[in-house]
């Protein structure tokens, strides 16, 4: 505790309070949208227009600019979700539970995008939409984990109990994350090995790498935007009987 400045501690205490989180996220939103737009526009311009075609794959490789960042996000969001789940499980912090469940739909979306764009890239390059190789199969299991989490949460009426069950499922599912990451090294698969995240320098030219990293950042900011929007709905529904939600409903309910 001594290592963390008082200001940071106070910030997190305030954020754990639902009305403060709601108000703060509302003020943050326009900034996030502007940053996302800047990153996405420059990333797409660099990736679709400035970067040269690949010497083997031609222009088909340009799918990389959404495929790889989506796949990264599918893993990243799962880890965030599991950590939030653990925090909710241990300290019973309502906001941690909300971050957990609000992440699930965004994570499922990115997993879906990674799988579909991978399929659309695989057809012209590998000659097939799908193979049961280790990387593809473990990513598909990730999608099922996300969907299982969303389904389980919806099936239990009491949302505190639902959060507990979901957190346990999310934590058990974490074993799949290193399997996905190392699948291309452990098994000899059709999916190629890592290009960017490896020990020596990335085997991709800077003109292709820069837009990729910009898109990865853009997707991170997008996650923050989607997470906040989803969390606010979840928060309002859970706190429907509290005074601040009632006031908000009268103010913004269009009456």
């Amino acid at each position: 505790m001594f290592l963390v400045p008082d200001l940071v501690v106070r910030f997190f205490h305030r954020m754990a309070s639902p009305p403060h989180f709601y108000a703060f996220s509302e003020r943050l939103m326009p900034w996030l949208v502007v940053i996302f737009m800047l990153l996405a526009v420059t990333g797409l311009y660099g990736g679709l227009y400035l970067a040269p075609p690949d010497y083997q794959q031609g222009d088909s490789y340009r799918i990389i600019y959404i495929h790889v960042p989506s796949a990264w996000m599918s893993l990243f969001i799962y880890v965030v979700m599991a950590i939030a789940g653990a925090i909710g499980l241990i300290w019973r912090i309502k906001l941690a539970e909300i971050v957990m469940i609000s992440s699930a739909s965004v994570g499922a979306s990115f997993t879906f995008i990674a799988l579909v764009t991978g399929s659309l890239w695989g057809k012209p390059m590998w000659g097939t939409w799908w193979v049961w190789d280790a990387r593809l199969t473990s990513e598909l299991i990730l999608l099922f984990l996300y969907l299982g989490i969303i389904g389980l949460y919806g099936a239990i009426d009491d949302k505190r109990t639902a959060s507990k069950a979901v957190a346990i499922l999310a934590l058990v599912g974490v074993v799949n994350i290193p399997i996905i990451h190392y699948s291309v090294e452990w098994w000899n698969t059709l999916h190629q090995g890592p290009t960017v995240a490896k020990m020596d320098k990335p085997s991709i030219h800077v003109s292709m790498l820069t837009p990729l990293l910009l898109m990865a950042l853009a997707f991170k900011v997008y996650y923050a935007i989607a997470l906040i929007l989803q969390a606010r709905v979840e928060l309002l529904q859970r706190e429907r009987n509290s005074q601040w939600v009632k006031t908000k409903a009268v103010e913004e309910g269009g009456l």
């Binding site: 495929h67 979306s109 995008i113 579909v116 929007l229 309002l236």
Partner: protein, 54 residues
């Protein structure tokens, strides 16, 4: 490079643009749906509130 050349994506137009299209639709849905949900929820609660006040 002409616009037509750009859109053709070296013959891979279908694969590239379908990927980007699906990505756009899914990402848009993820922000539009919660915004609609929030508006609906607040309107419902606001009406409920009004009924109770009467």
């Amino acid at each position: 490079m002409s616009l037509q050349e750009f859109l053709a994506m070296g013959g891979y137009a279908f694969y590239v643009w379908t990927s980007y299209g699906i990505c756009l639709v899914v990402l848009l849905a993820n922000v539009v749906i919660p915004i609609i949900q929030r508006k609906n929820f607040l309107r419902q609660q606001g009406l409920k509130q009004k009924r109770q006040d009467l």
